[in-house]
Amino acid sequence: MIARSLSGLLKKGDRVAVSNITGREASKVSTISQQYCGNIVAGWALGKAGSRIEVAGGKSIPVYGQFDEMITQLPEKRRPTKVIVYSPPDAVYGDVKEALENHRGSVRTVFVITENVSIEVTSKLRRLADTEGVDILGCNTLGVINVHDKVRVGAVGGDSPSETFRKGSACVISNSGNMVNTIASYLQSAGLGVSYGISTGKDVNILTPLKDLLPLAMRDKRTSMVVLYVEPGGVYEAEAIEAIQKARTTKPILVYVAGEFAESMNISLGHAGAVVDGVGSSASAKKALFDEYFEVPVFDADDRRKYSKRMSSHPRGLRVNALHDLVPAATALMAAAKIKRDFAPLRPLALRPWFVELGALAEVLPRDLVPYVADIPKPYGKLVKHYVTSSIGRVTSRQPMRDASHASSNDGATPRVYGRSLTGLMKTSSFVETVLLYWLGQPVKHAFEARLFDMSLMAALTNGPGTISAQGAKLSASAGNAPNTAMMATLGSIGTVHGGNGAKAARMLIKVFRDTDLVDPYDSSAAPDLDALVSEFVKQFKERKKIAKEAGVAYEKVPCLGHPVFNTEAVNYDPRERVIDEVMREEKLYNVFLDFYHRLARGMMEQHATSKVHAVNVDAALTCVLMGIAWPLLVDKKITVERAIDLPFLAFALGRVAGGAGEYLDHRDSGTAMDMRVPVNECRFLGRDQD
């Protein structure tokens, strides 16, 4: 082993390069690592030279085509000291060889994350490592975390390393990557944090075995206890104990050996190397080895006192038979060895269900099998409230969608929208009905919904040539652009201020109605107490306005109330909204959201939040129409809240882009070249000439 200390494996200041960095797992893990500690200087992937891995809130990672190219182009001070290998199994040998032959003396450690690497390649890697003077961890390691330096390589700690790994004095060395994380989180209940978390991997050959790591942990100043997770296969533990017996420094070891149950069965466990392959390699042999070395029988949680009596002031360690016994056993070891806690222990490990619904089964079960729901710890409690207990909206799972879609398909003969053939829809459905199918994933329930949506699109077509979006189309025509560019110019001229208010209105309506029992927005008899909702809303609005004014900051207006054109009367109306409202009245249709908006406009004036009744503008009408369609789907959790919020803006954009096309056609036919240009002498300079 080349590293002389655990920090030699990974410390602050180490620079990391990642192979195959654009792969699914490598790019995701690298992004999180970069946000956590920012130690990745570059990556390489064949055919991806010149691209970058963007990191939200962190430094983006440049991607090179080959390792050699990366080393050549990086300045000497930026060259990697560590390499993580995410290459496919058959490429691992070539990639490591390339790195080790071209690293120009910079790389000290290679971490091979890849699974299913052949044993022959693993043996060759070992020879390469010895020849080149580097350490190789793996294959199939998950990586290493140095908690005190707040740096990691690989995926140790998952997407939130800080949540599991608190600074402390336990060095966790595990055959299972998952167990590094799991054990670290359990140790918090003993008041123990982690110095280093090391995943050795558990292939048949472990390239940096325990006999190399354990002596380093024994010498590490930040480490006062070593916690091991061990599986059958190999004689690594026997060699490690031999190694530390030769050394003079010892620190207590806490160990869990898994897999004894499989000895009587001819089965293979999860890890490739977890197979009994000779004398001393079985789980039972490893248990006996540790028990003999510790000179203390396996930990018995029911008889803890005997261990404090039997253990000397320099205990060699303890073995546990159940993973959850790690906590009491660690506590006993700490007491015997006078190791101080790293922090106040978190609550003890226990059965703590987050969700329990046993229904009728609960009535026939013994009481201890019907557990009470426990408090959900931070940071999950907030997330549970958001995703699980919120009353409306679907929670979706995420997956790579490059070549996948729920919305459309084509089997080579028939294009489909949410499983319905487009040709069939062309015969039986209208354009607006099909658009709503495409946007919502199911056909509209009522025919009038398509009619109202149609009206909303028409209302969105135009508000005259002076609107920003129409001006966008005209500018584009004036410049001689093609029709698609003009349509893009129209779309490019709408935004959160012009057209985007519908999204704000949708968000507001969801906030107001999500805690009511509203199910059918078209049933006036089942509507919640709208006056009460308005009154509460206006009260809160006035409070926010007052606080904002006192702070001298702008307050957030009520979305879609008022219009720059229709605002001259004591009571104002937007004529386009009026038409939608009147058609609904004529057809005896009710929409609870539009009703709320009308009451809100009046309530704002009556409760002295405004001086006149503002117009409920067309964006509000459009939003109310779409929210009427979307609300039952939200209640049934068939669409997400985010989708419902996007709908009004999408509808406005769809209507307005058609209007923009009209402006373009007119302007292209009748306008003069560059007629949208403002003459120089009409432009004002607001600064001062500097020369």
Partner: protein
Amino acid sequence: MSAQIGELIFLEVLAARFKIPTPDFVVEPVRQSDVKQKLAAWGSGIVKPDVLAGKRGKAGVVREVSDCHKAMTLLKKVAAKVVSGQQPRTAYMVQTVPADVEVFSAITYNSRYLAPSLTVSTKGGVDIESVSEADKVTVPLNVFRGLNAYQASQALVKAGLPEGKLNSKLALCLVKQWDMFSATGMQSCEINPWRVTRAGSVCACDFKGTFDQNNIKFKDLGFELPEYPTSVDAFEEEMNAWAAASHQGQAHVADLGGNTILPMLFGGGASTIAIETLAQAGGDPMFLSDFGGNPPYERMKKTAEICLRHKFADASLLLILGGKANNTQIDITFAAIADALQEWVDEHGPHPIPVVIGRGGPGLVQGFAVMKKTLENLGMPYVFFGPDTPITLVAAYAARLAKQCAKANGGAK
């Protein structure tokens, strides 16, 4: 992952390819006249089953014969006799070879050296595990250079076969054994014994070996591995094929013969611990599984579909358990399992057994939300645990709950 091979494929294909001397042999079905002719030439033969029995499993079935009729009867009997739970593919008879010395040799990857190694012993011909370590000689090999005749010869000298004609001849055979090991991507190969006479004849008289299925050479052996009758059930067979279909995410299962708990487990370590705890607590799990390694949605969905198709109807409890994942997206894996559950119920009707879940990791709460909604839709009772409950406690709870449910259903199915 490794693929075991028996002696017959060694005799039929590998020995000839690598010029390793072996005894003559015939394979059942064989004509009586051929057997008669062979026995006349050999003097006697040894009838063996072609079976992948571990260790010395087939030792009790092997018989020496010199009579043609006896040989024909034995070949039929041995071909049909189950050995250590395994059904033979066929039986074969090899020539009896005289020996003055029996030598054991094994080439394998050695976790002590992290390299291949050669082990030899002149106490061959018996169960090698019964031979004391002092009577075995193990030498590490350079994986790039392999084994040369000098190294092999020196190992044999240390094992008690002095330098000379016999030593040289056997050393050359050991080099051929290395060539076979290396060229075909083997993980281990053992010849026990080499039967050696003072007159200088050397013969490889029994063989067992495993290929490393991850080795690229294994994928291009140039011959088809024979199909052995398998004791693996349809579920394990389908899962094994599915596991081999992709390296994206694990799909490993091993049948445990239980009847009560259908365990979908995540992580090599967590799955081992969970099954160990279930077994200790009398949980009667149907199989061991590891579905970790961040499987994409499609991979996980089909994995869950296979599990449910084969095992769900007979299960009294569904256990979904893993530690605090580093990399596996819980929302994706849970959405896939939830969708597979929904489809199973759509096709087969309700099966409202309790579902116990214990998990942590990225997208956990979103995953819980999806799973909770699906289970509520399907009317399935559930208990969910987060990463603040140790997996061993969850497994023990699931074992107790499953026992109660099986009892309530009129005893374990």
